[in-house]
Amino acid sequence: MLLTLLLAPLTGAALLAAWRGAGERTAGRFAAWWSLLPILLVALLGSRGTDGTMADWTLPWIPDAGINLSFAVDGTSWLFLLLTSLVTAFALAISVKLGIGGRAYAALILVMETMLLGVFTARHFIPFFLCWEMTLIPAYLLIRLWGGPNAPRAARRFFIVTLGGGVCMLLGFLALQIGVGTMDFGKLATMASEDGLAPTLATAFAGTGLTGATLLTIIAVAVLLGLAVKIPIVPFHAWLPDAYAEAPTPVTMLLTGLLSKMGVYGLLRVFLPIFPDTFTVLAPWLAALAVATVLLGALAALAQKDLKRLLAYSSVNHLGYCVLAAAAVAASSGDRESASSAISGAFLQAFNHGIIASALFFGVGLLEARSGGLRGLDDFGGLRARVPVLCGLMGLAIFASLGLPGLSGFIGEFLIFNGTFGLLPWAAAVSVLGLLFTAVFLLRLIRKVFHGPLGKSVSGWSDLSASERWLFVPVIVMIVVPGLWPQALLHFLNADTLRLLDLLNP
C-alpha cells in the first residue's frame, strides 16, 4: 500500500514522459487528474486507524551496515502525506487553469510529489536524505525553466544553498553511523532516550580528544544547519524571497506549502527525538533565532511592494512559530501539558500554513492572470466592487492566515502560544509582536488591494468563473473544517505526540 502510494505519482510522471503526442493542456489535465490518485490512497491509509504504524515498506540497501530504505506511516506522517497530496493536486489543477507548463512541467511536479511523500515517511536517514535531495532537481528545474526574468540566479542560489545545508546534515548523520553504528531514526531515538548518544560517541572518537557532549553538539549543529536552510530560520533565509518570487505561482505554492514543511517535519520528528539533550542546550539560542524569524519575517513582509514577496516573508514568519514551539519544548521539557500543546500546535501550524498559503498564492495567481502579470501591492485597488467573490475567498484565506478564531490558522498558533507561554514565557511574549505585525501587513493588503478607488488595471475584470470557484472549494473546506473541528486533525497527532514526549522524558 505504501509502496503503491510512493510510486503512484512517479508512474504518472513516467506516463507523461512516454506520452510524446500530448499537448500542453492535455498533459496538464492528465497530471491534475492523476494527482487525485495519491489523495485517494492517502485517504484509504487514513481509514486504517491512527494507532501505531499504518503501513510500512523496507528494501535492504547496504545491509551489513544496517542501512535500509525503510518507510512507514504513522498519524503524524499521515497528516503530512495528506498535505502533500492535496497541495500537489491543487497546484497541478491551477497550473492548468493559469495556463502554465506542459508535459515536462507536470512530470517534474509529480516526481517531486513522490520525493516529498518519501521524506514524510522515511524511517531511516538514507531514504530520508535520498528523497530530501531529490526534491531539489525538480524544484530547481521548475524555478529555472518556468520562472520569471531573474529565475536563473534565484534557482542557482536556491540550489547551492540548500545543497550545502544538505551536505552538512549528511555528514552529521554519517558521524552517527560511525560513532553509534546506525542511522535508523527509531533506533537513534531509543538510544538517545536511554543513555544518550554522547558516551558511545566519546569512545568511538576517542582519538579526537573531544568529550561526547561536544561531539554530539557538533553533529547536532551540522544536522540543524540542513534543516534551518530549508525551513528557513533567520539568518539562513536569504535564498527564499527571490526563489519564491521568481518561481511560477503554482511552484511557489509547492515551495512554501510543502518544501518548507520538510524542514519543520525534520526538526520535530527527526532532530528533536535524536538530539534531545543537545537541543536543550541549544534551545535558548534557537528560540532567539525563532523569535528573530517571526519578527523579521513580519517586518520584512511589511516593507514589500510585491504580493508574492510579501507572502513569501509572511511564510517565513508563520514557520518561525513552529521553530519556536520546538525550541520551547526542548528548553524545558518538564511541563508535559504545555509541551504536548506546543508540539501538536507546531504540526497543525505546518499543515494549516500549507493549505492557507496555497489559497493565498492561488489568489495572487488569479490576480496575475487577470492583470497580465501585475502583482504589485499598488497595482490594484477597489477590487471588492469589481470581483467580490474573489475578494471574499481571498479575504477568508487572509483572515485564516492572521489567525482568526474559527478558521484553521488560529488553532495551530493558539496551541503553540499556549504551550510556549508555559515553557519559555519571554520568547512567547516577544513573538506576540509578530502576530501584531502580521495583522498589520495583511490588513494593509486588504485595504490596498480590495478597497479604495478602483485601480486603472482593474476596470475590465470579470469575477471568478465557475471552474475557478470549484477550485477554491477544497481549500476553503480545508480552512474552515479544521478551524471549527480541530479534533479531526488532532486525533491523528495525539498518539505520536505522546510517544514523542515519552522519548523526551522517559
Binding site: 535492504p60 547496504i62 545491509p63 536563473p152 554519517l174 558521524a175
Partner: protein, 491 residues
C-alpha cells in the same frame, strides 16, 4: 561463460575487425558491438554467479608462462574484479554506440578500441605482477593512436603529453615491481607471493611511493593530473569515455590492489600525504572546472575532482573508505562515460562547438531536448545527488573519513558544494534556454539517433540502479576486499 571470455572476446573482435575486407569496413562497428556485448555478458554472468553462490571458489586460470622469470599466466576473478569488468563492458558498449558513425578508417578505429578494452580486462584479471604490467602497457599505444588520428582540439599535444605521462608512470611502476620482485627472493611475480613477503620498513618507505605514484598518475592524482584534461579533450568521444571511464580506473585499481597490499607499512607512512593530495585534487579540480569555457574541459577537470574521492577513500585505510573508493571507480566510470558521450558526440557533432557561450545560441533545451534531459540527469548524478551511484560512493568515503581524518570533511563539504556550482554553471550555460533566444525559433538539429538513446539510457540506468539498490555491488566489492591481499591493510 567464464570471465576469460572478456579478454578473449575483445582481442578476437580486434583481430576480426582487422581481417574484414575493405568493402565491409562499415560493418566493423557491428563486430565491435558484438564483442563488447559478449564481454559485458561474460562479466555480468560472473557477477551473478558470484552473488548466487558467494562461497564458491573464485574462477582462476593459472599456466606456466615465462619460467625463467617466475612469471605465470595467472588470471583470477574475485567480486571486485568482476564489478570492474562489468563496468568496462558497459562503458565499451556505450563507447561503440556513441561511435556508431565514425567515418574515418573505421576498421583501425574499432581494432584499437577493442585492444584497449582487452588490455583493461587483462589488468583487472591479472594475479601476476608481470602479466598485469604487460596488459597495462598494451593500453598505452592504442590510446596514443586513437587520440593522434581521430582526435580534435590540439590532438598531437594532448596525445603526446598523455603518452609521456603514461610512459613515465610506467617506468616508476616497473621500478617498484622489480624492487619488490628482487626483495621477495626473485622467484615469482605472483601478487599473493609478493604481498606475503617481508619487506623492511626502510625499503617500503621508498618503494611504496614509487609504485603508488606510478599508478596514481594514471588515476589523475594532483599535481600529476595535467595530462587528463588535455587528453580527454583531444580524444575522440569513444576514447574520452574509455580514458576517463576506464583507463583512469586502471591506475586506481593498481594503487589499490598492487601498491597498497605489497607495501602496507610504506602505505601507513605515506597515507597522510595521499589524503592531502587527494583533497587538493578534489578542490583544485572543482575550482578549475568552475572557470572553464569548453564543455569538455569542465568534464575533464570534474574527473580530476572525482578521482580525488577514490584516492581519498584509499587513504582512509578503513573498510568503508576502500569500499567507497571501489564504488567511486564504478560510479565515476559510468558517469564520466555518459558526460563525455553527450558532450563529445551528441552535442559536438551537431553544433561543432563546445564553447559554453557559443552553445547558448543553439538553445539546446528546445532544439535537442533528449540530449538536454540526458545531460541534466548526468549532471545530477555527477554532483553525487542521492539516488545516483555517486552518492553511495561519496557517503562511503565520507564515513571512512570520519573514522580516520575527520578534519578533512571540512574541505570535502566545500568540494561537494563547488561541484554543485560548476555542474550547474555548465548545465545552465550549455543547455538551458536563454531569455533573448527564447523568442527566436531554435535552430533545427537532427534528433537523437537510436544508438545514442540506447547508450544514454544504458549508462543512466546503471547509475540509478547502483544508487537505488547498491546491495549487490557492495556485496561483490566486499568479496574482493575480503581477499588476503587486504588483510594487512584492514585491521
Amino acid at each position: 561463460m567464464t570471465p576469460a571470455w572478456t579478454i578473449a572476446s575483445a582481442f578476437a573482435g580486434a583481430l576480426l575487425v582487422l581481417l574484414l575486407p575493405a568493402r565491409m569496413a562499415a560493418q566493423s562497428r557491428v563486430v565491435a558491438l558484438v564483442a563488447s556485448i559478449i564481454g559485458a555478458l561474460a562479466a555480468g554472468a560472473g557477477c551473478i554467479a558470484k552473488l548466487a553462490s558467494p562461497e564458491a571458489p573464485a574462477w582462476s586460470f593459472d599456466r606456466e608462462w615465462i619460467p625463467s622469470l617466475g612469471a605465470r599466466f595467472h588470471l583470477a576473478a574475485d567480486g571486485l574484479s568482476l564489478t570492474l569488468l562489468l563496468l568496462t563492458g558497459i562503458v565499451a558498449i556505450a563507447g561503440v554506440l556513441f561511435s556508431w558513425n565514425v567515418d574515418k578508417r573505421q576498421r583501425a578505429f574499432f581494432a584499437l578500441f577493442l585492444t584497449i578494452i582487452g588490455g583493461v580486462y587483462g589488468v583487472f584479471l591479472s594475479r601476476d605482477a608481470f602479466l598485469l604490467f604487460v596488459c597495462y602497457e598494451v593500453v598505452i599505444l592504442p590510446k596514443y593512436l586513437l587520440i593522434a588520428i581521430w582526435g580534435s582540439t590540439n590532438r598531437e599535444y594532448g596525445a603526446m603529453k598523455l603518452t609521456m605521462y603514461s610512459i613515465g608512470a610506467s617506468s616508476l611502476i616497473l621500478i617498484g615491481l622489480a624492487a619488490a620482485y628482487a626483495a621477495a627472493g626473485g622467484t615469482s611475480f605472483d601478487l599473493a607471493h609478493l604481498a606475503a613477503a617481508d619487506y623492511s620498513a626502510s625499503f617500503q618507505a621508498w618503494a611504496f611511493p614509487v609504485l603508488f605514484l606510478g599508478f596514481a598518475v594514471l588515476a589523475g592524482v594532483w599535481p600529476f593530473h595535467t595530462w587528463a584534461p588535455t587528453g580527454h579533450v583531444a580524444a575522440p568521444t569513444a576514447a574520452s569515455m574509455l580514458l576517463a571511464g576506464v583507463v583512469m580506473k586502471l591506475g586506481a585499481f593498481g594503487a589499490l590492489c598492487v601498491a597498497m597490499p605489497l607495501f602496507p607499512e610504506g602505505f601507513a607512512q605515506w597515507r597522510g600525504v595521499i589524503a592531502g593530495l587527494a583533497v587538493i585534487g578534489i578542490l583544485y579540480g572543482a575550482f578549475t572546472a568552475l572557470s572553464q569555457k569548453d564543455l569538455k574541459f569542465v568534464i575533464g577537470y570534474s574527473s580530476v575532482s572525482h578521482m580525488g574521492f577514490i584516492l581519498l577513500g584509499m587513504a582512509t585505510a578503513t573498510h568503508w573508505g576502500l569500499r567507497g573508493a571501489a564504488l567511486q571507480m564504478i560510479s565515476h566510470g559510468i558517469i564520466a562515460g555518459l558526460l563525455f558521450g553527450i558532450a563529445g558526440r551528441v552535442v559536438y557533432t551537431r553544433t561543432h562547438t563546445r564553447d559554453l557561450d557559443e552553445l547558448k545560441k543553439f538553445d539546446l533545451w528546445r532544439s535537442l531536448p533528449g540530449g538536454a534531459v540526458g545531460f541534466t540527469l548526468a549532471t545530477a548524478a555527477s554532483m553525487g545527488l542521492p539516488g545516483f551511484s555517486g552518492f553511495v560512493a561519496e557517503i562511503s568515503v565520507a564515513i571512512g573519513l570520519w573514522e580516520s581524518f575527520p578534519l578533512l570533511l571540512i574541505p570535502l563539504v566545500l568540494g561537494i558544494v563547488i561541484t554543485g556550482a560548476f555542474s550547474l554553471r555548465a548545465l545552465q550555460k550549455a543547455f538551458f534556454p536563454v531569455r533573448s533566444a527564447a523568442a527566436a525559433k531554435p535552430p533545427k538539429l537532427p534528433p537523437l539517433s537510436w544508438p545514442e538513446i540506447t547508450a544514454i539510457v544504458l549508462l543512466l540506468a546503471v547509475s540509478l540502479a547502483i544508487g537505488i539498490y547498491p546491495k549487490p555491488w557492495v556485496t561483490l566489492i566486499d568479496d574482493g576486499l575480503a581477499s588476503p591481499l587486504f588483510q594487512s591493510l584492514l585491521p
